[in-house]
C-alpha cells in the first residue's frame, strides 16, 4: 500500500490489478537478479528461460488474435506450433529425411507457408461451425496433424524426431560466428561463485534477441491490426456476428484472415523453438501445448496483448519452476539427517497447477488478470490516449473495485 502513494502519473494511471502485476513482476525480476548474482541461476539457463517466455508470449499473441479479437475457439495451437517447428527443422536439420541443410531463413519461409496452408485447410471446414463445435473439431484436426507427423516416417522421421538443427543465424554474416568470436568472460561479484559467460551464453543471447524481435514485430503488427478498420470488424464479429453480417461484411472471410494471421504467429513461435531446442519430435505437437497457451491467454485477459505477455511468463514460470522441485531435498530424521526427494512425481504437479489456475481464473476473474483497459464499451474502442483520470469510465467496473 505504501507503493500506491509513490509519485508519478504513470503509477496513478494503473488500475489495482495492473499495480499488483507490476509489483509482482518487479519482485520476480529482483529474485531472478539475486539468483543470477549468486550464481544459483546459470546465466545461459536464465536466457533460455527468457527465450521460452518470449516463445509463449508469441504463441499467446497468435491465439489472442484469434480468440481475443474474433472469438474463434482454436484448440489446434499445438498443430501450428508443431508445423512451424517441423517446417524449420525439416529444411535445416541434418537428419531431415526430405531436405535438410538449407539456410534457416529458408526454413522460416517454408514453415510460414506450411502454416498458412494448414490454417486454410483447418479453417475451411471449421470456421463455419458454432463456437463449441469449433473447439472440438479443431482439437480433432490437430490430433490428425500429430498422427501424420508421428506416422509418416519417410517425411518426418516419425517418433525419432529431427536432430542437428543449426542455430537460426547460421550463414548470416557476422552473427553466425558471433558466439565463438566473443571472448569468454568471468565476472566475480560474490567471491567463490563467478559468473561465466562462454560461447553458449552468447548463443543464448542471440536467441533472446531473435525472440524479442519476433515478438516485438508481431506485437506491433497486431496492435496496428487491432486498431485498424479491419480489427474493428473482427471485434464486431466477436460480439455479434449477425450484426457484422447485417453490415454487409463477409464474416467467414474475416474469420479466415484472422485465423491465418494468428496461425502464422504461432508458426513463428515454432520456428524459434526449433532453433532454440535444436531438436523437434512429435511430442511437441501434444495437445498440452495448446492448453498451456490457452491458460496464458485466459489468465492474462482475453483480447489484451499485455495480458497475453503476462500469461506467457506465468506459464513458463510454472513449466520451468516445477523442474527445480525435482532437486529439492527434504530432511528426514533427527540425528542422522537424511535427505530424500519429494515423495511424488513433479510432472503431475505441473498439470495440477495448470488445472487449478484455469478453474480459479474462470471462477473468480473470468475476464483475466489484465483485461483490455482502453476499450470503452467492449469490444468497441477509444484507442488513442489513456483516460485522464484513473477512476473514470468502465475500468472501475471491470476491476470490480474502486480506487479509494
Amino acid at each position: 500500500m505504501s507503493l500506491r502513494s509513490a509519485p508519478g502519473e504513470f503509477w496513478g494511471n494503473l488500475t489495482k490489478p495492473e499495480q499488483g502485476v507490476t509489483v509482482l513482476i518487479g519482485a520476480f525480476a529482483f529474485l531472478l537478479f539475486i539468483g543470477l548474482v549468486t550464481g544459483w541461476l546459470g546465466p545461459t539457463y536464465f536466457l533460455y528461460v527468457v527465450g521460452l517466455a518470449g516463445m509463449y508470449a508469441l504463441l499467446s499473441f497468435g491465439l489472442n488474435s484469434q480468440w481475443g479479437f474474433t472469438g474463434l475457439i482454436n484448440f489446434s495451437v499445438a498443430a501450428f506450433f508443431g508445423v512451424g517447428a517441423y517446417g524449420a527443422a525439416l529444411m535445416s536439420g541434418n537428419t531431415s529425411p526430405i531436405a535438410g541443410d538449407y539456410l534457416p531463413v529458408f526454413g522460416l519461409v517454408v514453415a510460414l507457408i506450411l502454416a498458412a496452408v494448414l490454417a486454410v485447410l483447418i479453417g475451411v471446414p471449421t470456421l463455419r461451425l458454432r463456437a463449441d463445435y469449433l473447439a472440438i473439431a479443431s482439437l480433432g484436426l490437430a490430433e490428425v496433424v500429430r498422427l501424420v507427423v508421428l506416422n509418416e516416417r519417410e517425411w518426418t522421421n516419425g517418433s525419432a524426431g529431427v536432430r542437428g538443427i543449426p542455430s537460426f543465424f547460421e550463414g548470416w554474416p557476422l552473427l553466425a560466428t558471433f558466439p565463438s568470436a566473443m571472448p569468454g568472460l568471468e565476472i566475480l561479484i560474490i567471491p567463490g561463485s563467478p559468473i561465466v559467460l562462454d560461447s553458449s551464453f552468447w548463443r543464448a543471447l542471440l536467441n533472446v534477441a531473435l525472440v524479442l524481435a519476433l515478438a516485438g514485430g508481431s506485437y506491433a503488427v497486431l496492435k496496428r491490426a487491432h486498431r485498424s478498420p479491419w480489427g474493428r470488424v473482427l471485434r464486431t464479429i466477436r460480439s455479434d456476428e449477425d450484426l457484422a453480417r447485417a453490415l454487409g461484411k463477409n464474416t467467414y472471410s474475416f474469420k479466415m484472415q484472422s485465423f491465418v494471421l494468428g496461425s502464422l504467429i504461432m508458426a513463428l513461435a515454432g520456428v524459434f523453438y526449433a532453433h532454440l531446442n535444436l531438436y523437434v519430435s512429435p511430442g511437441d505437437l501434444d495437445p498440452i501445448t495448446t492448453f498451456y497457451v490457452w491458460v496464458a491467454v485466459i489468465l492474462g485477459g482475453s483480447g489484451s496483448n499485455r495480458g497475453a505477455l503476462f500469461g506467457g511468463i506465468i506459464v513458463v514460470a510454472i513449466r520451468e519452476g516445477t523442474r527445480f522441485l525435482n532437486e529439492i531435498m527434504i530432511p528426514v530424521g533427527i540425528s542422522p539427517v537424511r535427505y530424500v526427494p519429494l515423495p511424488f512425481d513433479v510432472a503431475p504437479l505441473r498439470l495440477l497447477l495448470i488445472g487449478v489456475i484455469i478453474i480459479l481464473v474462470m471462477r473468480f476473474r473470468p475476464q483475466g488478470v489484465l483485461p483490455p483497459q482502453r476499450e470503452l464499451i467492449w469490444p468497441s474502442s477509444i484507442d488513442d490516449a489513456a483516460p485522464e483520470r484513473p477512476d473514470s469510465g468502465v475500468r472501475d467496473v471491470k476491476a470490480g473495485e474502486d480506487n479509494e
Binding site: 461451425l129 480433432g140 512425481d345 478453474i359
Partner: protein, 322 residues
Amino acid sequence: MALLEYLANGLVFSSIIVLGSIGLSLIYSIADFANFAHGDTMTVGAYGAFVTFGAIGGITGGILSLPLGFFIALLVGMVVAVVVAVITDRIIYEPLDVGSIGMLITSIGVAFVYRAIIQMGFGADFTRYDLPTLRPIEWLIPYGIRITEHDVAIVITAAVLVVGLHLLLQHTDLGRKMRAMADNPDLARVSGIRTDRVKLVAWVIGAGLAGAGGVFLGLFNQLAPRMGFNLLLIIFAAVILGGIGSVYGAVLGGFLIGMINQLTPILSDIRLLTDFGSYVPYVPDSVGITIGIEYANAIAFVIMVAVLLVRPNGIAGDGEGA
C-alpha cells in the same frame, strides 16, 4: 475371415464408447456445455475399481471368468465416478457464471486436476487389473474370431446398462422430465419440473456410465492416467455423429464410431485397381488404401468434422428423445 474378427472387436470397443458417449451427450444437453472432463471421469471410475478390486480381491464364484469381486469393484468404480462428478458440479460448475464456452474451458482445468491427482497416486505407468489373462473362446476360433470371455462380459454388461437407461427414460416419470428438459430447459422449468434435481440425475447417470466405461476400457486394454483423455475425442466424434443431446443418437454414434475404429485395418487389406500404376506415371503399382491402424482415431475425427459440416444435428436429428 478377418472381417468377422474386426467386427467382434468393434462390438466390444463400441460398447465402451457407447457407455462414454451417453453421459457426454446427456450433460451436453442438460447442463449445456461440452464437458472436457468426461474422459477423465472414465479414468476416475477405472482407478476406483482398480483400488477396490485390489483390496477385496477375487471373491470366488462369478461369471464369464470374472470373479464376483470384479463386479463389486465395477459398482464401486461407478459410484466413485458419480461422487467425484457430483462434487465437482457442486463446488466448481454450479457457482460459475461464465456461459457455455467458459464452462468448456473450466472443464479442461477439471480434467487436468483429475488426471494429475490420479498420476500422483498411481504413477504414469500402465497397470492392469489383477486378473489372469484369458485365452480366446475356443469354439469361436474356427470362425476367425478371437475374443475372450471378458470381452463378452463387457458387451453384455454394457447392453444391460443401456437397456436399463432406455427403460428409465421411456417408462418413468423421471425419464419424461429428463427428456422434457433436454428438449427445452426453459419450458421444462416453467412447467414445474425441478430442473436442479433433473440436472443432478443427469450427472449421476452420465458419470456412472462413464465410470463403467472406464472400468471396461481398463479391462479391454490397460489402465493409465491418460486413458480417458485419449478416448475423449473419439467419444465426442460419436456424440456428434449421433447428434448432440440425443441419448439414442449417442448409442448409435458410439456403435458406429467404435466399429469404424476397429475396422480400419480392412482398408489396407483392400487392393483397389492393382494395375493402376502401370498406366499412370508416379503412382505405385498397388494402390491399396494404405491407411494403417495408427490412423484409426484420425478417421474418427475426420468423420466428426464431416458430420458437423454436412449435418450439424447428427444422424439422429435434433430434439428426438432425451
